[in-house]
Structures are given as structure tokens and as C-alpha cells.
């Protein structure tokens, strides 16, 4: 009997997952990339048309707008990292009622983005929502009907997204703060350094890796953002709040243009990979640092 089962069994056990990854991820990605070079409509078309779909994409005002919105959304969402850090730092200092505050800041994370979108759509409701309350308080010119205007719709979506995701970044920041070397922190404290200088000069520089991870995770999440757009605006008004993920799915289901949708999806993949590389480097670096 030449077979050594202790060598073979682990491979057999890992094989199903490896096979699934190969087919459902690697194979699927390859198929989508291939389709992006064809003129496929409803069904795959195996005739290659080169870069035509990509060329079309970059002359499509709606796609370009979706990229612009992607950048706006990412920059606006950075606020949730900043707010998350401030809240984490404050909670770390404020002992009274820490648990209650943390619970309140984190609960939006448990809720589906569809519910979040619906809730905020309701608050933005003209006439019945927050706007009416502002009017009845005597602020007649106040407008909170942000989702109705092309100029403000993205701010409305960003506000809801910040509400949803701040707790997540606060949790990451809290664990980052806890891992800081407390000796430095306490030495500075005993020297009577004011707390804001301590943060700017010591804590934030020491947490730059956490900040960096948060930013990359945020960007990868923004590229995928779809649910919140559907729940709040359906890309409206007049297509003003379209995002790449929405554009791709719309191109596939509504316009029934598979090749075009695949080209958009491939660009999304490339964007994710570019964002992903620094994350890998940081993770590897972190593991090396903790190993030594």
C-alpha cells in the first residue's frame, strides 16, 4: 500500500473549497472579463469586438457621472471614519455610560441598508419629515428635501451612509486605541500634556495603520455600494445619484446588454484590486511586525 492517508486526507478535505473557488470565483471572473470584450446582449456572444465596450463606457455620460459620484461618495464617507475616531477616543476617556453610548452608536450596523435607506427617505420626506418640523419652528426657508434635487441628492445618501457605518469604524478605532502602548500615553499624561495635543502628536501618528486600513475598507465598500442607492433614490432624480454598481446591474437587467455590463464590472474589479493591494501589504507587514 503506497498511499499515505495522513498526507492525502488533508488535501481531499480542502479540495471541495478549492474547486469551488476555482469555478465560482476564478472561472467566473475570467468569464466576465471575456464577455467584456464581446458584443453580448441578452446571451453570451462569442465574437470578440476588442475594446469597443470600454470605449463606449468612457463616452457614456451616465458612467462618467457614476465615477464622479463614486469619488464624491468616498470623500463624503470619510466623515464616518473621522467621526468614528472622535467617538472612539471620547468613549475611551468617558467612563460614565460607556456601554450605553457604544450600544447606541453601533446599532445601525445591525440593520439592513434597505431599512436604513427607507428610514432616511422618510426623514427627508418633504412636508411630512424633518423639513416640516424646521418650518414649524419658524425656520421657513429651511429645506431638508435633499433627495429631490440633483445638486443635493448625493449629500442625502452620504448622510445616511455615515449614519450607518460610523459605528463600524468606531469599533475598529476602539480596538486600535486599546492596542496602543499605554506607557507612552501615561508618561505624556503625567507630564501634563493637554489631551488634544496628546492626540495630534502621539495617538493619531501611532494609529496611522488603523486609519489606513479603515480608508481602504471604506473605499472597497463604496465601490460595491448598491443597496443604499436602490433604497433611497433608485439613482434618481434623473440619474443624478447613479453609482458604478448600480450602472452595471442596470445595464444587465434593464438594458440587457451583457457585454457592456461586463466591461463596467471589470473596471470595478480592477478598482477593487488596486485598492486591495495596499491592504495586503499592510496585513503582511502587520503580521511580520507582530511576529518579531
Amino acid at each position: 500500500m503506497g498511499i499515505r492517508w495522513s498526507r492525502v486526507t488533508p488535501h481531499l478535505a480542502v479540495a471541495p473549497a478549492a474547486l469551488m473557488t476555482l469555478v465560482f470565483f476564478i472561472g467566473a471572473i475570467a468569464w466576465t472579463v471575456y464577455l467584456s470584450f464581446t458584443a453580448s446582449r441578452r446571451f453570451p456572444d462569442y465574437e470578440l469586438v476588442g475594446w469597443k465596450q470600454y470605449w463606449r463606457l468612457f463616452h457614456d455620460a451616465s458612467w462618467l457621472l457614476s465615477l464622479q459620484n463614486l469619488v464624491i461618495f468616498a470623500i463624503g464617507s470619510l466623515f464616518s471614519i473621522i467621526l468614528g475616531f472622535i467617538l472612539a477616543a471620547m468613549i475611551d476617556k468617558e467612563v460614565h455610560g460607556e456601554g450605553i453610548f457604544r450600544t447606541i452608536f453601533l446599532y445601525p450596523l445591525a440593520i439592513s441598508l434597505i431599512v436604513t435607506g427607507l428610514v432616511w427617505r422618510w426623514l427627508f420626506n418633504p412636508g411630512l419629515g424633518v423639513e416640516n418640523v424646521l418650518h414649524s419652528l419658524g425656520w421657513q426657508s429651511a429645506s431638508f428635501n435633499w433627495l429631490a434635487s440633483q445638486d443635493t441628492v448625493m449629500f442625502g445618501v452620504i448622510l445616511a451612509a455615515v449614519w450607518q457605518s460610523t459605528g463600524f469604524f468606531m469599533a475598529l478605532m476602539l480596538s486600535g486605541l486599546k492596542s496602543i502602548n499605554t506607557e507612552i500615553w501615561q508618561a505624556a499624561r503625567l507630564d501634563g500634556v493637554p489631551f488634544w495635543r496628546l492626540y495630534i502628536e502621539v495617538i493619531i501618528p501611532m494609529m496611522k495603520l488603523t486609519f489606513f486600513t479603515c480608508i481602504i475598507l471604506l473605499c472597497i465598500g463604496v465601490v460595491k455600494a448598491y443597496d443604499i442607492i436602490v433604497a433611497m433614490t433608485n439613482a434618481g432624480p434623473g440619474g443624478a445619484s447613479i453609482m458604478p454598481a448600480y450602472f452595471v446591474i442596470d445595464a444587465y437587467w434593464q438594458k440587457q446588454n451583457l457585454g457592456y455590463a461586463s466591461a463596467g464590472a471589470t473596471i470595478m474589479l480592477l478598482t477593487t484590486l488596486v485598492l486591495f493591494l495596499p491592504l495586503v501589504l499592510v496585513t503582511v507587514w502587520r503580521q511580520k511586525r507582530s511576529a518579531t
Partner: protein, 304 residues
């Protein structure tokens, strides 16, 4: 109030703790006020939705979203559960609730059993190409779903599970496989090596060590993974939308349909009650198992 001075700075050593500090300092007041304002920003939307769901349409039309309902009515809740219209179907959110359960159960079994074995194999045994495989899993965990959507639709169609709740469950299992494998693998890597080494010398059998040593030691990580999966699958929208048929859609999709259905007069209280019903299961998990919930989301984010 004495609690403040005796507890000030949990991270500080006893020397600092013993140092006398004034009870109320300006910086502390500023922090507390800011935290209160932030708490209002996060809590008010939920408050508004809850009170709105108990109002009648006449009260809602007054436009005072912060005021309490008078009288309180649970009409919208029962209507949302049994009669609200999603497209042409007027059977309420309970249809979606049941579908979500049918999606959740097989998906949990499939994905956890597969990923725990894979994670165990990769962490503790000599597997060829293990590092390469881990790197691929790491990338796959971040790939946006849109990129593999069409091929997955084709595969599900070929397997004749497209449009069924089981089909949605399988797709969820596929999508969460990379993440979960990495989480399990990291966890098993951290098990005390002496125990594993002793077990290997003792029996050396892959499956015996798994069932007798590793699985019994996985209680904590299992709870974390369960929370991560249950909330993730329950809150999913896109997979359910793409792979569900008219009568197999999960609760989030049904909810979205209810809120955009415009047949008859719009009753906002029903929308709010439907939203709360949809949000309730993950919220219950969050409030009951908060610590594990936070572990789950942060494990998924950093170590994934």
C-alpha cells in the same frame, strides 16, 4: 458621582488613579455633551420610525414626526405583517420572513461545514499550495458580487436551482466561503500548539483530531461566525433580488417592494412597521449578543 473619580481612566495605573482630580472638568463636560449629541443623531431615526409605525395616517399628515402617537395603534403592524402589497402580491412581509428563514438555514449549514473543514486543513496540516490558496481566498473575499453575478446566474440555472430559496442559499454559501475559511483558519492557527501536537502523535487522524479536539474548542468562534452570517444573510438585498423569483424573495426585497408599491393611498405607518419587522431579527441578535456581534464584524473586517 463618586464613581467618576474612582473609575477615571480605566487604562491608567493605580498611581494615576489615586491622583486627586476635580470631579467636573470643562473637558469632561464638552466630551459628555458631544457624546449626547452624537447619541441623538444615531438614536433619533429609530425613534421616529418606531413612533410613526404606531400612528394613524391622519396623525402622520400633521407632519410632526417627533411627537408621540395619540392614540397608539398597532393597525399598521398587523397590516404590514399580513396584507401589505409587494408588487401584485398582498400577503405582507411574513412571506419574506419565511423565505429568509428558508434561505438562512441551508446556507448556514453548507457554508460553515465547508469553511470550518477547509480552515482547519489549511491551518494545521501540510497542504500543498496552501499559501497560494489563502492569497486567492483573501482576494475573493473582497471581489464585488457584480463581477461574478452573471456566471453565477448561469451556473445556478444549469443546476436548476435558480429562483429557489435553496438556490439563494447556495449563492450565499459560495460568496461567504472565502471570508469564513480565513476566519476559521486564523482561529485554528491560534490554538495552543502543544495540544495539537500531542493529538497528532496520539492518533494522527485528520478527522479524529477535527471532531474530538478542534471542533469542541471552536465554541466561541462558532458564535461569532453565526452572528456574522445570520446578520449578513438576513440583511442582504442584492443576492436575493438577483436570484429570487416572485415568491422566493427574502424579507429585504419584499420590504423594498412594499415601499415602492404605489397602489392605493400610501400608508407610511405600514412602511415603517414593515421596516421594523425586517430589522428586528438582527437587532435582537445585536442587543442580546452585543460583544460577539462586535467581534464578528471586526474579525470580518481586519483579519479577513
Amino acid at each position: 458621582m463618586t464613581a467618576i473619580s474612582s473609575n477615571a481612566g480605566t487604562s491608567a495605573p493605580s498611581a494615576v488613579k489615586a491622583r486627586r482630580r476635580p470631579l467636573i472638568r470643562p473637558s469632561r463636560v464638552v466630551i459628555f455633551v458631544f457624546l449626547l449629541m452624537a447619541a441623538a443623531f444615531f438614536a433619533v431615526p429609530l425613534y421616529v420610525v418606531i413612533v410613526t409605525s404606531f400612528k394613524t395616517m391622519d396623525q402622520i399628515r400633521l407632519g410632526q414626526i417627533f411627537s408621540l402617537p395619540s392614540p397608539w395603534t398597532t393597525e399598521a403592524w398587523s397590516y404590514a405583517w399580513t396584507q401589505a402589497c409587494s408588487g401584485m402580491n398582498c400577503n405582507g412581509v411574513r412571506v419574506g420572513f419565511v423565505n429568509s428563514l428558508y434561505i438562512l438555514a441551508p446556507s448556514l449549514v453548507l457554508t460553515i461545514s465547508l469553511s470550518i473543514v477547509t480552515g482547519y486543513g489549511l491551518a494545521l496540516w501540510n497542504v500543498k499550495w496552501a499559501n497560494g490558496f489563502l492569497f486567492v481566498l483573501f482576494i475573493c473575499a473582497f471581489v464585488p458580487f457584480q463581477i461574478i453575478m452573471y456566471p453565477l446566474i448561469k451556473i445556478a440555472g444549469g443546476l436548476h436551482i435558480y429562483g429557489t430559496t435553496f438556490g439563494i442559499a447556495v449563492i450565499h454559501s459560495v460568496l461567504s466561503l472565502p471570508f469564513l475559511t480565513l476566519i476559521f483558519r486564523n482561529y485554528f492557527r491560534g490554538l495552543p500548539p502543544q495540544i495539537i501536537a500531542a493529538a497528532m502523535i496520539d492518533s494522527g487522524s485528520f478527522w479524529r483530531i477535527f471532531f474530538e479536539i478542534v471542533l469542541p474548542m471552536s465554541g466561541n468562534i462558532m458564535v461569532v461566525v453565526l452572528i456574522l452570517m445570520i446578520t449578513g444573510i438576513w440583511n442582504d438585498f442584492l443576492v436575493g433580488l438577483t436570484f429570487g423569483a416572485q415568491d422566493t424573495q427574502p424579507m429585504t426585497v419584499v420590504l423594498n417592494n412594499i415601499t415602492v408599491t404605489t397602489t392605493g393611498a400610501k400608508n407610511y405607518a405600514v412602511d415603517m412597521a414593515s421596516a421594523l419587522l425586517t430589522a428586528l431579527p438582527p437587532l435582537v441578535i445585536y442587543f442580546v449578543l452585543g460583544k460577539f456581534f462586535v467581534q464578528g464584524i471586526t474579525a470580518g473586517a481586519i483579519k479577513g
